[in-house]
Amino acid sequence: MKELFILAIVTVFTLVTYYLVEPFAHSKMHKHVESEKFVYADLPALTKTGDAARGKDLVMGAGACTGCHSIKVASVPAPMDPVATAQTYGVDTPDLSNAGVIYDPKFLAALIKNPAHALMLEHKYNESTGKVHPMAQFYGAGGDIDQEVADMVAYLQSIAVKKEELTPKMAFETACGRCHAMKYEKWTQIGEKPKFKHKKDELAFDIQVLTYQDALTKYMGKLPPDLSMYIRSRGEHYLSTFVEDPQNLLEGTAMPRVGVTAEAAEKVIEHLADSGDTKRVERAEVGKNVMFFLIIFAIFAYLWKRSVWRDLH
């Protein structure tokens, strides 16, 4: 009994120390940001029901989206390769094939109408800085602009893969992959690094990546970090709230609000975990067996102790 009392004291002091140096200290070191549940409350709700067929005409129309964006599923190629695009605009323009499932419809609508506002980059692109966001604002095609935007969103949704078919990798590559590399997944800003037979070809690819990164660095102010280990260095909660609204955690950052849906954000985080914490399933599996073994071991150790000490008391 006395030993249990001593154990209780040791445990209490250990837990108090743990509480102070972990949860308590971390709450003082990092501002806590609550998730907004990806509702984008500051953006206006969609009031019109979109018509995908009309949206298609608008998206494909001369000088509209396809002037800069590729839509691979609709066989619309990119006007320029990623490196040239980055050298022109600062960053590659995204392919719109799956934009309709990855991005929130409200966000997409707001983005078409006023990119700097939807991306929360008005601190960077405004009249006083004289900078204009490289994505051109859509001023309407002559009719009701809200209806037109709703139609475009409906078209993007109609061509995208189904929610269930969206893989973590697709979500990451579309939402994050044009700015962030992930070397543990062999991902570069211009795509997956292939296996090369000749060193010469590999170097040519690396030069392309470096050229792209130079343009991106100029555009963003610094090269956005490699995200391979971010699941461990930042944790799920930080990443998810950061993706939701980067300004909340890093005021003035050049990173735009990404505008992903809650489901797409989960997929992005899953992809980050696939890179930085690849063995999580194996760990849980092995852990169960080891714990089971140790409990059996403890029972035998206790029985041995009892049998030895029977003569000693």
């Binding site: 001593i6 102070l20 140096v21 280990m229 461990r232 092995v286 852990g287 071991f297 041995w304 003569d311």
Partner: protein, 404 residues
């Protein structure tokens, strides 16, 4: 040469040449341990097991780790964590054990202080234990450098800066230690050597010494009772095991040791599999960047108390306080003037001193981690003063202590 006869068995053959029966008797079956000691005395065995876990997991990590500033981070986080089968397990065992070993060391130390196990003939046990603590600290610090993450780099920068010795501006010394103006390749190389060779070797030697120091004065016990080990051992050997105050190390105390170890292992592997992150600072999963200082730089939890003794003062005073904290525990057997080797609760004011010291060190630990903003700065300052003050009053209050 000794006289050898034809061996009757393999055991006999080895025994004639190595005297294994004698070794077994001296080390195990007739190594006498007091009966009335609680599970806190099993911490030595817990530490030995944890050290073994560190050694074995370290050897596996060593096979794949690359001590190069360009590849170190990836060799740990990619090669070991992804490519090597069960590399993640070895790494988490190593990382968790590095942290848990200090928790157990602190429990072991405070047990020694509480029961007065450093007194009257047991000074060498205490001093060799403190040497082990210091060597373990150096081992932990050098190991923390190896993944070459942000905290490795910046903690390395901050800790080596201590060797500029404040007002003495011993700048050359810092560069000599680093082998460069900032932590770089030479720094990583030498800390790698220290971590995988010199310090583990020193630790193994010191563990031997620490065991050796127990031989003559014997292990202390829960009541501080003076035991006549020879008389009690005779009683035990005559068959009066229940009446004897001593028991054999093996299997008697060993069976209790192993039970405590088994409980410890449940706790340990729970951390390894389900809560490994408590021992690994997230900041260290960012690769080292000499151009980007982390928002807060702090050491691992087990160094926080002595870091906090340094921090609230001006540079020179802080360094003196820090130096004081590093050596003062060594002097405990000589600063405690009381003849009583009994538990603190039977020693009057010393009991107050003990709990005050324990709580003060926890406060220092907590304050060492939080950012240096108010009120934490002030709390840390007073906790540091309290720490120094407690050591100043120790000889006085123990001198006044009556014979228990």
């Amino acid at each position: 040469m000794a006289h050898f006869t034809k061996a009757t068995s393999v055991h006999d053959w080895v025994n004639q040449r190595l005297g294994i029966d004698t070794v077994r008797r001296v080390m195990a079956t007739e190594y006498w341990i007091p009966k009335n000691i609680n599970f806190l005395w099993a911490m030595g065995m817990v530490l030995a097991i944890t050290f073994a876990l560190l050694l074995v997991s370290g050897i596996f990590l060593l096979m794949y780790y690359q001590p190069n500033i360009h590849t170190a981070f990836d060799s740990v986080n990619y090669t070991i964590m992804r490519e090597v089968e069960f590399g993640w397990l070895w790494r988490h065992i190593h990382g968790v054990a590095a942290s848990v070993v200090f928790l157990v060391i602190y429990i072991h130390m405070f047990t020694g202080i509480y029961y007065g196990s450093y007194k009257k003939g047991r000074e060498m046990i205490w001093i060799s234990g403190m040497l082990l603590f210091v060597t373990f600290s150096a081992e932990a610090f050098s190991g923390y450098m190896l993944p070459w993450g942000q905290m490795s780099y910046w903690a390395g920068m901050v800790i080596t800066n201590i060797f500029s010795l404040g007002g003495l501006h011993a700048n050359g010394l810092v560069e000599w230690i680093r082998g460069d103006y900032v932590p770089a390749q030479a720094f990583l190389d030498r800390f790698f050597m220290l971590h995988v060779l010199l310090l583990p070797l020193a630790i193994i030697g010191l563990i031997g010494l620490h065991f050796g120091t127990l031989r003559i004065p014997h292990v202390n016990n829960q009541d501080g009772e003076e035991i006549d080990f020879e008389a009690e051992a005779k009683k035990y050997k005559s068959g009066n095991k229940a009446g004897s105050k001593v028991i054999a190390f093996a299997n008697d105390f060993m069976s209790k040791d192993m039970f405590v170890v088994s409980i410890f292992l449940i706790f340990f592997f729970y951390l390894v599999f389900y809560h490994y992150d408590f021992a690994m600072d997230p900041v260290n999963f960012d690769p080292a960047d000499g151009l980007k200082t982390p928002t807060h730089i702090y050491p691992e939890w087990y160094f926080l108390w002595s870091y906090e003794i340094l921090r609230p003062f001006s540079t020179n005073v802080g360094l003196m306080a820090f130096g004081f904290a590093q050596v003062i525990f060594f002097l405990l057997p000589f600063l405690d003037k009381s003849p009583n080797a009994v538990p603190a609760n039977r020693r009057g004011l010393f009991a107050v001193w003990f709990w005050a010291m324990l709580i003060d060190m926890i406060v220092l630990t907590a304050m060492g981690k939080v950012p240096p903003i108010e009120p934490y700065g002030t709390v840390g300052f007073f906790a540091a003063l309290t720490f120094i003050g407690l050591w100043i009053v120790l000889p006085i209050i123990t001198k006044l202590e009556k014979k228990a």
